[in-house]
C-alpha cells in the first residue's frame, strides 16, 4: 500500500491541491535539464513522500540525497537543493559549495526554498559569497493533505516561534495557505477566531484579500462555508494529556510521521533483524479508517471479533460445500487479511507499552492534575520525578499541565522546582525554562486560577463514559480500566462553543452564556463576515431555521474548515470526526493544522538545545 493517501472521499477536492504541488515540483525538476542530484532537507522528505513516490522523482533523472553537514558525494554536475528557509541549512549548502570549489569542481547549483525564501537566508548566501553561483527559486508548498479530512501546513515550530520568540512568520504562512485555498474553493464567507494568534491570522487574511482579492463573481457558491481559527494557546491542557485513541496512542509511543509509523521489522512479523519498516496509516486502509478514532481498549475488542468471525467463516468453508458466490465473498474477506495482521501486530506492540505501571501511573497523575483538587499530591509527584531524573520531556509535560491548571505556581514552589530541575538536568536548561515562562506554560502564579470555573462551565470532566458506545467526545481521553475515569477535552468544548455560537447566531438567549465562557478562556476572539455574497442572502441574514439555510443546493452538508494554530493531536481530530458523525450536525469538517502534535512533540519544541 502506498503512503500517499487516497483523497477521493474528501469533502472537497483535495487531490487538486496535491496535483498542483506535484506539478510544481515537476516543473522545478524539468527546468534543470539532464541528470541531477536532488538534495532534500530531511524534515521535508516526509512531506514530499506524501506527494510523490521516490521512483517518480528518479524518472526525472534525479538522484536523491538528504541534506546534512557532510559534503555530498555525487558525480552529477547539477545539484538541486530543496530546503526550508533556515539559516543552519543554508550554512550546510554554503559549506558544500565551498568544498566543491576548493576541489576545483564546477557544478550548477539550484536552490529552492520551501515554501518561500527569507531575506536572512539570502543575506547569509551573500556573506558567504556563493550567491552568484546559485539559481534561487521558490517551491510554494504551503500545505499538504495528510488524509481525506486533514491538511497540514508542516510548521513544526509555529507554537514556540510565536509564543517564545515572538516570531510571527508562521502566522503569515498559515494565512497564505488559507488564501491559496480560497483561490481554488472560493472566498470563505464566515471567519471565526479564538486566541491571539488566531485573530492575527484572521487580520492577515483580510489584508491579503484586500491586496489580492479572490474573484467572487465567477466562483458561484463557495465550497467552504466557515473558517474557524483556533489558537493552541487557548487549550494547552488537552495536548499534554496522554491520548488514548488507537491513532493517538500510536503517535504517543511510536511517533506517527507524515501518515506513517516506522518500527522494527520484527514487530510486524517480518524476519529481518534490525531492519526498519514503514507502516502507512491513512484512510485508504479501510480497517484503519474504522478503528483509528476508537479508544484503544475497544480496538482490541474489534480486532478480536473480526478474527473470530473470520475463523468461523473459515471452518464453514472447509466443512460444508459452498456455492460459488459464497466462495467469492469469502475470498473477498480474505483480502482484508493483510490489514488485519498489520493492525493486530501494531496493537500487540502498543499493549506492551500501555500495560506498563509507569504509563498507568502517569494517566492517574494526569487525571489528578486536571481535576485540580489536590495540589500537594501533584507537587510531590512531580518533585519525585525530578529527583529520580526521569526523562525531562515527561517531567515538563506534567509540569505544564500543573502550571496551566493552576494558572501558574506560587513563587516559592516555582523557584524551588526550577532550582531542582536545573540541579538534576543541568544548568543549560535555563533557556528551556525561560522559553516556557515566556510562553506562559510554566510560570509564577499571578491570578487565581479560573480552571475550575472553566471546567465546571464546560463540563469538562465527565464521569463514566461507555468507551464502546461513546455519547460524549471525552472517550478519546478516557482511562484504561474501570476505575480510571474520563479525561477532559477542553478544546473540543471550546470549539463546540464557537460552533454553536455560529449556528445559533440569532438566538441571543443561547448565545450570551457562551460569550461569557469564551471570555474565561485565554485570548481574544473575533467574528468576521466577509462580503461579496449579496446574491446569497441566506449567509448574510441567517434565519433561525438552520436546515434550510445551511444546506447547499445539492443537499450536501456545508463545510467548515477548522484550523489549529500550533498543532492538533490525533485524539482531537478523532473527537471532531465523532462530532460531525453525530446526527443533527449540519456540517462536514476539515481540519487544518500547523502540525500534528502530541504533548511530547510540543514540549520538545520548547527545549532549547545549547552546545
Amino acid at each position: 500500500m502506498s503512503q500517499i493517501p487516497n483523497l477521493e472521499n474528501a469533502p472537497i477536492n483535495l487531490s487538486a491541491i496535491r496535483a498542483r504541488a506535484q506539478a510544481e515540483l515537476e516543473t522545478i525538476l524539468k527546468n534543470v535539464r539532464g541528470d541531477k542530484c536532488l538534495v532534500i532537507d530531511p524534515k521535508l522528505s516526509g512531506s514530499l513522500s506524501l506527494l510523490v513516490q521516490s521512483s517518480e522523482l528518479k524518472k526525472h533523472g534525479a538522484e536523491l540525497r538528504h541534506l546534512t553537514a557532510e559534503p555530498i558525494q555525487t558525480d552529477r554536475t547539477k545539484v538541486v537543493y530543496l530546503v526550508r528557509a533556515q539559516i543552519d541549512l543554508i550554512k550546510f549548502i554554503c559549506s558544500h559549495i565551498h568544498n566543491d570549489t576548493s576541489k576545483g569542481l564546477h557544478r550548477e547549483y539550484y536552490l529552492y526554498f520551501v515554501p518561500r525564501r527569507a531575506v536572512v537566508c539570502e543575506k547569509v548566501l551573500e556573506e558567504e559569497k556563493v550567491h552568484e553561483l546559485l539559481n534561487i527559486g521558490d517551491f510554494p508548498l504551503y500545505m499538504i493533505p495528510l488524509d481525506e479530512d486533514v491538511l497540514s501546513f508542516e510548521l513544526d515550530l509555529a507554537q514556540k516561534e510565536y509564543l517564545a520568540d515572538g516570531d510571527a512568520t508562521s502566522l503569515w504562512h498559515i494565512a497564505k495557505a488559507i488564501h491559496n485555498l480560497e483561490f481554488s474553493f472560493g472566498l470563505i464567507p464566515n471567519v471565526r477566531a479564538k486566541g491571539k494568534a488566531a485573530t492575527r491570522v484572521a487580520d492577515i487574511l483580510n489584508r491579503m484579500q484586500a491586496e489580492e482579492p479572490v474573484n467572487t463573481s465567477d466562483m458561484g457558491i463557495p465550497e467552504i462555508n466557515t473558517l474557524v481559527l483556533l489558537d493552541r494557546e487557548v487549550d494547552m491542557v488537552t495536548p499534554m494529556c496522554s491520548q488514548l485513541t488507537y491513532e493517538g496512542l500510536l503517535d504517543e509511543f511510536l511517533g506517527v510521521n507524515n501518515g506513517a509509523v516506522e518500527l522494527d521489522a520484527s514487530i510486524m512479523g517480518v524476519q529481518q533483524e534490525g531492519k526498519k519498516i514503514k507502516v502507512p496509516l491513512n484512510s485508504s486502509d479501510k480497517l484503519f479508517k474504522e478503528i483509528r478514532d476508537l479508544n484503544f481498549e475497544v480496538v482490541v475488542q474489534v480486532l478480536r471479533q473480526k478474527a473470530t468471525s473470520m475463523k468461523q467463516d473459515y471452518t464453514e468453508i472447509s466443512t460444508t460445500s459452498q456455492t460459488v458466490s459464497e466462495l467469492k465473498d469469502f475470498v473477498k474477506k480474505l483480502n482484508s487479511l493483510p490489514e488485519m495482521t498489520r493492525h493486530i501486530n501494531l496493537a500487540q506492540h502498543l499493549s506492551t507499552f500501555t500495560s506498563k505501571p509507569s504509563f498507568l501511573g502517569r494517566l492517574d497523575m494526569e487525571q489528578t492534575l486536571v481535576e485540580a483538587q489536590s495540589y500537594d499530591i501533584c507537587f510531590d509527584y512531580i518533585e519525585e520525578m525530578i529527583h529520580k531524573q526521569e526523562p525531562l520531556v515527561n517531567v515538563l509535560r506534567l509540569l505544564i499541565l500543573f502550571s496551566v491548571t493552576n494558572s501558574g505556581l506560587p513563587k516559592k514552589n516555582f523557584d524551588y522546582l526550577r532550582r531542582e530541575l536545573l540541579h538534576s538536568y543541568g544548568f543549560e536548561h535555563i533557556a528551556t525554562l525561560n522559553n516556557l515562562e515566556k510562553a506562559g506554560l510554566f510560570r509564577k502564579q499571578d491570578s487565581r486560577s479560573n480552571w475550575l470555573t472553566i471546567k465546571r462551565a464546560l463540563q469538562l470532566v465527565v464521569e463514566d463514559t461507555d468507551t464502546a458506545n461513546p455519547n460524549d467526545i471525552a472517550y478519546v481521553f478516557s482511562g484504561y480500566t474501570e476505575e480510571r475515569h474520563l479525561y477532559p477535552n477542553i478544546n473540543f468544548h471550546s470549539l463546540q462553543l464557537i460552533f454553536y455560537s455560529s449556528v445559533f447566531a440569532c438566538n441571543l438567549s443561547y448565545r450570551r452564556p457562551i460569550e461569557e465562557i469564551l471570555r474565561l478562556l485565554p485570548g481574544p476572539h473575533s467574528e468576521i463576515k466577509r462580503g461579496g455574497y449579496a446574491s446569497i442572502p441566506s449567509y448574510e441574514t441567517l434565519p433561525g431555521s438552520l436546515n434550510s439555510s445551511e444546506k447547499l443546493a445539492d443537499g450536501r452538508r456545508s463545510l467548515v474548515l477548522v484550523v489549529f494554530i500550533g498543532g492538533v493531536t490525533f485524539a482531537e481530530i478523532s473527537a471532531l470526526r465523532f462530532l460531525c458523525s453525530q446526527e443533527g450536525m449540519a456540517y462536514d469538517l476539515i481540519v487544518g493544522t500547523t502540525k500534528i502534535v502530541n504533548g511530547q512533540a510540543l514540549t520538545e519544541t520548547f527545549i532549547e538545545k545549547l552546545g
Partner: protein, 126 residues
C-alpha cells in the same frame, strides 16, 4: 536590553564546550551573574548563574583529582552520582552541602548510584 545582553552571555559559554575553554567560561558565567543581579526581576537567573560557575569549578577540581574528564557539563545530580559510583563519598557529600541538596533528592541519588555499582552491602546499611 540588559536582560537580553546577560542572556546572550549565559548562552555563549554553554555553547562553547570542553575543558580547554574552562577559564573564560567561568568568567563569562560570572559576568552573566553580575548582569542578572543588576535587575530585581532576575534573582533566580542570577542565582542559577552563580551556582553554575561554582559547579564548574568543583567539577574541574574533581576532574583534576580523579584524572577522568567526565564531570564537566553534567548536572549537579549527575555529579553526585558519579562521585558515589566512583566510591568517592566524601566528594559527593561536599557537593551535597555546597548546593544544599535536599535530603529527599540525596536519598534517591544515593540509591540509584549504589544500585548501579551493585554495592548491595552499602545499600543495606544505608
Amino acid at each position: 536590553l540588559l536582560w537580553k545582553e546577560s542572556w546572550e552571555l549565559a548562552r555563549n559559554p554553554m555553547a562553547s564546550k570542553g575543558s580547554p575553554l574552562h577559564g573564560p567560561r567561568i568568567k563569562l558565567i560570572e559576568k552573566a551573574h553580575n548582569l542578572f543581579t543588576e535587575t530585581k526581576e532576575h534573582m533566580f537567573e542570577s542565582k542559577a548563574a552563580e551556582e553554575h560557575a561554582k559547579l564548574l569549578r568543583i567539577q574541574h577540581e574533581l576532574e583534576v583529582t580523579t584524572k577522568q574528564a567526565i564531570f564537566v557539563d553534567s548536572s549537579i545530580s549527575d555529579t553526585i552520582r558519579t562521585c558515589i559510583v566512583l566510591g568517592n563519598h566524601r566528594a559527593a557529600n561536599k557537593v551535597k552541602t555546597e548546593f544544599k541538596v535536599s535530603e529527599k533528592r540525596w536519598y534517591w541519588l544515593k540509591v540509584f548510584a549504589l544500585a548501579t555499582i551493585r554495592d548491595w552491602d552499602a545499600l543495606e546499611k544505608f
